[in-house]
């Protein structure tokens, strides 16, 4: 009989020890999941309270489930017109700001010119100015030139275009920097002029970035409160409506609209993620 030492069977680690080992190995993952839970918690509250059936004027404690708020989302006076105004402003402002911002981004990435550094600075400054200063300074301009600007729709629109431009520039610029210029040179070598090259090569390639800039500007515009509050006069956008109601009563319909905006935005972003996945798997640029 050979004397082969048979290793003693190792004691099975206790369930607790295994759990601890698991936690240590996955600390970062567990932490990240907790972080996501924290990020999503208030969103869950917003969605849940859109189904609340509050007895009083304030929608702060849970009192029962109802579909009523969704069915009668426009039962609150002025809520619908506030939402309409926000949508109008966001649509026009995002289109104009993205157009202007794309042109600036093209100039900044494509051309060396005198004043490039100060252009970069002027684009960056609105991003690094607190909103309250942006709002206050614009209001000062509008008040001082009150024979030129009537405070209302147009002043809101101007304000929104102003703070959206920089976001559009940054978004499109990021895409242009990682862009293969040889593609354009090839088009030019094949006899396309600058405009044709732009139409057939450049524009399709930066289209996703332009779309992203549009969505970003739309989202920022529809969400803006501070700058709008200063420059809206007696016009009421959706965030201004929420602000006003926070003082006297918070109808659950506010949560309905908030949830709806959230769902639409997330759907669009998810569609974008899926689209990118498809493009990547096809090996497209």
């Amino acid at each position: 009989m050979s004397t082969v030492a048979i290793p003693a069977p190792r004691a099975r680690p206790s369930a607790l020890a295994r759990a601890w080992a698991f936690v240590r190995r996955h600390t970062l993952t567990v932490y990240s999941l907790l972080f996501f839970a924290y990020l999503l918690l208030p969103i869950g509250v917003v969605v849940a309270f859109s189904f609340n059936n509050p007895k009083g004027r304030f929608n702060y404690t849970w009192q029962g489930f109802t579909w009523k708020n969704w069915a009668q989302w426009d039962a609150i006076p002025d809520l619908k017109s506030a939402l309409t105004l926000s949508l109008e402003i966001a649509l026009i402002a995002s289109l104009v700001a993205t157009a202007l911002g794309t042109l600036i981004a093209l100039a900044l990435v494509r051309y060396g010119f005198r004043g490039r550094a100060s252009t970069n600075l002027l684009v960056f400054l609105p991003l690094s100015t607190p909103e309250i200063v942006l709002g206050a300074s614009l209001l000062t301009l509008f008040l001082n030139l009150n024979n030129v600007f009537a405070i209302g729709f147009w002043t809101i629109l101007i304000a929104h275009i102003m703070f959206c431009i920089s976001f559009a520039v940054v978004t499109v610029k990021a895409r242009l920097i990682g862009f293969d210029r040889h593609l354009e040179e090839a088009a030019m070598d094949l006899g396309a002029n600058e405009w044709l090259t732009f139409q057939k090569v450049t524009l399709p390639l930066i289209a996703p970035a332009i779309l992203a800039a549009l969505l970003l500007c739309f989202a920022i515009s529809i969400d803006d409160f501070v700058v709008t509050y200063f420059n809206a006069g007696n016009r009421v956008t959706f965030p201004i409506f929420v602000w006003g109601s926070a003082r006297v009563a918070t109808p659950p319909q506010i949560n309905v609209i908030g949830t709806a905006i959230f769902v639409v935005a997330v759907t669009l972003m998810l569609a974008n993620v899926v689209l990118q996945r498809v493009r990547e798997s096809k090996g497209a640029v």
Partner: protein
């Protein structure tokens, strides 16, 4: 297009003109008006007149020093908290996210899709006196039996931290994502421990993200008044609350303008110091 060919040097300026003109007229000029207004004296009934009233600045600092200090204090704490909270998550997505990166980023920006005011109102619900959080904290005696979270500095800082987290997490992710993994492997091959490799390689390489995230969080936080208004009590009011009430309720434009300018000046000094340290190109992407 012959024109563009003959005047190639002109093209970037033509691309820039509309957008930059807009920014000049509705961002720079208003700042000029704000500066002008800040040196006026008078009253809303008899009109304000330009009198080189530098005293407005002195008054702003003297009467509202507490509000200024509190603003930068709250913003500073919130920025540090946001950095500490979101760095591990940004790291986790960048290094372990794999093909789910875009989806995980969507979670990070999800709060942005719920209107700012609505998600702050949601925190009001979560932190309210008969909410779950307060009840648990009272049960474990972190809070006294009458202790509350709402209307405290804690609630205001918590609100600011939450509301600006994505501004911190996104730039952190971008800079961590760009790190060449072979550098970290090289450090580990050279017998650096995982922790040391992180401290000596990963962390320094992610500094541009830390700087950008810090600025993008700190600047809007310092000028914020919504969190202090909805989650705090008047003793927690920040300089933004004062500017807002002077502009919108008291119509004391010169005082509000000089306070905006002091706020802007302090922030600008900080931003320029940062910009010098890291270069404007890195900041503006």
């Amino acid at each position: 297009m012959g024109f563009f060919h003959r005047h190639r040097g002109l093209t970037p300026y033509l691309l820039l003109a509309p957008g930059m003109l807009f920014l000049a007229v509705f961002f720079l000029v208003p700042l000029g008006f704000l500066a002008y207004q800040s040196l006026e004296t008078g009253s809303i009934d008899f009109g304000y007149h330009f009198t080189w009233a530098w005293g407005n600045y002195w008054d702003a600092i003297r009467h509202y020093r507490g509000h200024f200090v509190r603003s930068f204090e709250y913003a500073g704490i919130a920025t540090v908290l946001a950095l500490v909270f979101s760095y591990p998550v940004a790291y986790w997505i960048a290094f372990r996210g794999g093909r789910w990166k875009n989806l995980l980023l969507l979670f990070i920006v999800a709060p942005f899709f719920v209107t700012y005011l609505i998600r702050t109102l949601a925190w009001q619900t979560i932190l309210s006196d008969n909410g779950l959080v307060v009840r648990i904290l009272r049960d474990i005696h972190v809070l006294g039996s009458g202790g509350r979270l709402l209307a405290t500095a804690t609630a205001v800082v918590a609100g600011i931290t939450y509301n600006f987290l994505p501004f911190m997490a996104l730039p952190l992710y971008v800079s961590l994502e760009q790190i060449d993994h072979s550098l970290i492997e090289a450090a580990e091959d050279l017998y650096a421990s995982k922790w040391k490799a992180f401290l000596r390689v990963t962390l320094p390489l992610s500094m541009p993200g830390v700087v950008a995230g810090t600025l993008l969080t700190f600047i809007p936080a310092a000028g914020d008044f919504i969190n202090a208004q909805l989650l705090g009590s008047p003793t927690n009011h920040m300089i933004g609350n004062v500017i807002e009430s002077k502009y919108k309720e008291l119509l004391d434009y010169p005082a509000a303008a000089s306070m905006s300018f002091v706020l802007m000046a302090i922030i600008l000094v900080l931003v320029l110091a940062y910009a010098r340290a890291v270069g404007t190109e890195k900041l503006t992407g």
